[in-house]
Structure formats: C-alpha cells, structure tokens
C-alpha cells in the first residue's frame, strides 16, 4: 500500500496499524523539519512532533479524507506549535513591519531608502547566526507560512488549509515575514564576502 493509495483514508479511519505506521514513516521527517523551522528548539520540536502524531493516532477515526493526509498533519502541527509558543493571538494584530516597509518608498512608489546590494551571501556563517536571531522575532503564523513555502515547498491552497487563512491573507503573511527578515538582517549590518551588505 502506498501513501497515495485511494483506500488509505478508509484504512486510517478504521485504525489499520499498517496504514498508520506508513503515514508516520512517510511524514515524520517533514513534520520534524517544519517544527524546527517554526522556531522550536530541537527538544521542543521533537516533543511537538511526537504530540502531533499522538493526536493523529487519537483522531484517526475522524479523518474523512477530504484533504490530503499531509495537510491534516501539518494542520495538527500548526496548532501544536501555536500552543507551544502561545502567540497566535498576538500574530493576528496589526504588524509594525507594514509601516517600516511604507517608509522605504516615496509617494510615487519608487525607492526612498533602497536595499543595500548583496551578492547572495546568505550562506556565510555570520549570516546563519544572525538570521536565527531574526527568525526568533517573527510571529509563529508568519514563520509557519515561511517554512511551509520555502522549506517544504507547499502550494498556496494546501497552505491556506493548514493555516486556516484565505489566499489574500497568505500573501500578507509571506509579505510580512520576508520583509521582516530582510529588514532585520539589514539592521544587523550583515556583511557578505565582497563587502556587500544585506
């Protein structure tokens, strides 16, 4: 039986141990990676991953198969991460990054404070260290959106289902997280190998 078997949903619902084991093996790495990407430390990420699959096993009888099993798992993970960081409420408030971005442009939409040139030096150890700090300041919903898109490569529809947002809201989340990370690194004066700055 493959993970894309059309009968998989029914088998999961029936509590078939083989089907459940197959799902766990197929998605364990992805869920752990997303938990780490969401900003949890390795121990917390492992705990949340374990809790995600515990909920999956517990609620298996409720899986109707209307969405992909991966979407369901990421949805459980997202709630667990939000619980772990207790930040969801704060995330839904107005974001100061919008104002910071506004201030970089003139009234006609051209740059007032353009970005400093960088030669794609984001792989340097110096930048690695600083981007971790920057990611710690990003609210969880934005961080999950960033991880699901950039690390897991999920499409918009699946991400909207996981995060419980509309396509427009997803665009706002991605817009904010990317601008926040970019601005944070720029403020830290990150330098590249050829004296370029972010």
């Amino acid at each position: 039986m493959s993970i894309d078997d059309p009968q998989l949903a029914a088998k999961i619902r029936a509590g078939d141990p083989d089907a459940i084991q197959r799902v766990i093996r197929a998605y364990l790495g992805q869920i752990l990676r997303a938990a780490l990407g969401a900003g949890l430390d390795p121990t917390q990420a492992e705990d949340v991953t374990q809790a995600t699959f515990a909920t999956f096993i517990e609620k298996a009888a409720n899986f109707e198969g209307r969405s992909h099993i991966r979407t369901w798992l990421f949805g459980i993970l997202y709630k667990k991460v939000a619980e772990a960081r207790r930040e969801l409420k704060r995330d839904q408030q107005m974001d100061d990054i919008d104002e910071m971005v506004e201030q970089r442009f003139k009234a006609d939409g051209s740059w007032m404070h353009p970005p400093r040139p960088v030669d794609a030096q984001l792989h340097d150890a110096e930048v690695r260290e600083r981007i971790e700090d920057c990611l710690d300041t990003v609210p969880i919903q934005q961080r999950m959106a960033f991880t699901l898109r950039e690390v897991e490569g999920l499409g918009s529809e699946e991400m909207c289902n996981i995060l419980g947002v509309t396509r427009t809201n997803l665009g706002v989340l991605l817009y904010r997280v990317r601008n926040r990370l970019r601005s944070c690194l720029e403020a830290k004066g990150v330098r590249g190998r050829r004296d370029a700055q972010l």
């Binding site: 459940i20 939409g109 970005p115 930048v127």
Partner: protein, 83 residues
C-alpha cells in the same frame, strides 16, 4: 510600468505564482531596469535558500527519526488514561 513598491510587494507576497504572462512580464521588465528591486528580489530569494539549507539538513538525522518513531509507537500502545 508597476512602481518599485508594487513590484517588491508582488515578489514578497508570492503574487506572481500562478499569475498570467502579462503581469509577470511587467515585473521582469521592471527588474531588468531597476537595480534596487533586483537587489531586493535576490535578497528575498536568498532567505528561502538559507531556510532550506538550514532546516532541511537538520531534521534528516536517521537516529533522531528512529528514536521519535519508537517513542510514538510506544506512546500509542499505552492504555487510554482515564484519570
């Protein structure tokens, strides 16, 4: 021609994913002519590259996955807690 603000907004919000050829062409033309927006686009792309390298590698340790899998199965075999 879209402004710098519009172009960077479309890039950051993934608005061009699935967009038609005309909006994409307008943004590409703008990027061709504007070094600041090109710089912005490179930086946004680099953030994704960094994230993939950082977390993509971290979670693939087979020993960690094996330990977790064992813990999940042990956990699921416990009798329900009615306390």
């Amino acid at each position: 021609m879209p402004s710098c603000k519009e172009v960077t907004g479309r890039i950051a919000s993934d608005e061009l994913t699935g967009a038609g050829w005309w909006p994409r062409l307008r943004v590409r033309l703008h990027l061709f002519m504007c070094r600041h927006c090109r710089c912005y686009a490179d930086q946004v792309r680099s953030l994704g590259t960094y994230a993939r390298e950082r977390w993509g590698a971290q979670a693939t340790d087979p020993a960690v996955l094996e330990r977790l899998e064992r813990a999940i199965f042990q956990d699921s075999s416990k009798p329900p807690d009615h306390s």
